[in-house]
Subunit: 207 residues, 2 copies
């Protein structure tokens, strides 16, 4: 029974057309310990093929993702991490660098051909930076939920030296890192109790 439950969880919505709201939100957890089970590259494509549809400002889609799968690629990342994030990242089958293209606006004539949206950003670096940071963050959230939808667990992290990651992975300065997401099959036996959330009345007003 336990094994069947576990198997069902591991498979998730792999090929399915639906995902349970428990898997997506209510019972999903941030993992820092991982089962010794690899993630097929195909599954990374499934993630992208869902997350790409999430809305962004003027369809600007500024996020660029680097999936680190090999030991060699992972080793390049580890020195930039906060000490508490090293072991969980080493143990994760895949780590995603959620980055953004600082010149995302060069794609707008194709991605948003209805108006000259490129000009909104090309001469306004501060607005371009805010837009890229906000919208690549949205896309990082889509990535987390898409990963859960295809049966993976996620462990997002912002405890690392962004400048050091950028020098290592994006030396031409064209892309900038936003945050990281470990991906794999989480070890539920190593979870702590879920932390509390703010009540509706604390976080929400209805006018």
């Amino acid at each position: 029974m336990l094994l069947n439950d576990e198997q069902a969880r591991l498979e998730g919505a792999r090929d399915g057309d639906a995902v349970s709201l428990d898997r997506l939100f209510r019972e999903a957890r941030t993992y820092s310990a991982w089962l010794d089970r690899p993630v097929a590259e195909e599954r990374l494509r499934w993630i992208y093929d869902l997350m790409k549809y999430g809305p962004t400002s003027a369809n600007s889609s500024p996020a660029r993702i680097v999936f680190l799968r090999t030991r060699e690629a992972k080793e390049r990342l580890l020195p930039a991490l906060a000490p508490g994030n090293v072991e969980q990242t080493r143990g994760a089958p895949v780590t995603a660098i959620v980055a953004y293209d600082t010149r995302f606006y060069d794609q707008l004539p194709r991605l948003f051909p209805y108006v000259d949206a490129r000009s909104w950003f090309a001469d306004n670096p501060a607005f371009a930076e805010t837009t890229a940071f906000r919208n690549s963050s949205l896309q990082g959230a889509y990535l987390i939920l898409a990963a859960r939808a295809v049966g993976l667990d996620a462990g997002p992290m912002s405890g690392f030296d962004n400048a050091q990651v950028d020098r290592e992975f994006f030396p031409d300065g064209h892309f900038k890192s936003n945050f990281l997401v470990n991906l794999g099959y989480g070890d539920r036996t190593r979870l702590h109790e879920r932390s509390p959330r703010l009540a509706f009345e604390e976080a929400v007003r209805v006018l």
Copy 2:
């Protein structure tokens, strides 16, 4: 048949425990025209009761949401909007202001009681601001997908004067607006063709 499909779409995953990946990602669209059908306040609670579980850095949960439901509340927002966003916002049954608490770290002793996480932010305003902006953006993405999961359609917008919204809705300076999301039942007959997305090979690298 068409009516049945439409009804099924409108109901979405209202009471369900699962949501189709088409509704969540593949066939979901950003709406700017809305059916004349109200949104029950209960549904706004369902949204929050899903989105609150989405992961944030150190469970910091910085987002604060103001749902504008009445004509009076909506009228206070309209003068701050870019001209192209006024009519779609007036027509939406609900508009969400996704904001963040600039002093989110005061909740950390309760939300993340394991370490003194408050001190990471309280004396570092730039780090606190980046964390609040990134994580309230993630939570705004969770809101969009949670709204879709409970059967609503969304129309996110960042074309507005943030400072003007903050003066009107958050005059004590404690909260800051991030972006807006119109919510309701979208009019599919007024949709344009979906804009293209970047191919996997354009947006993703696997190392």
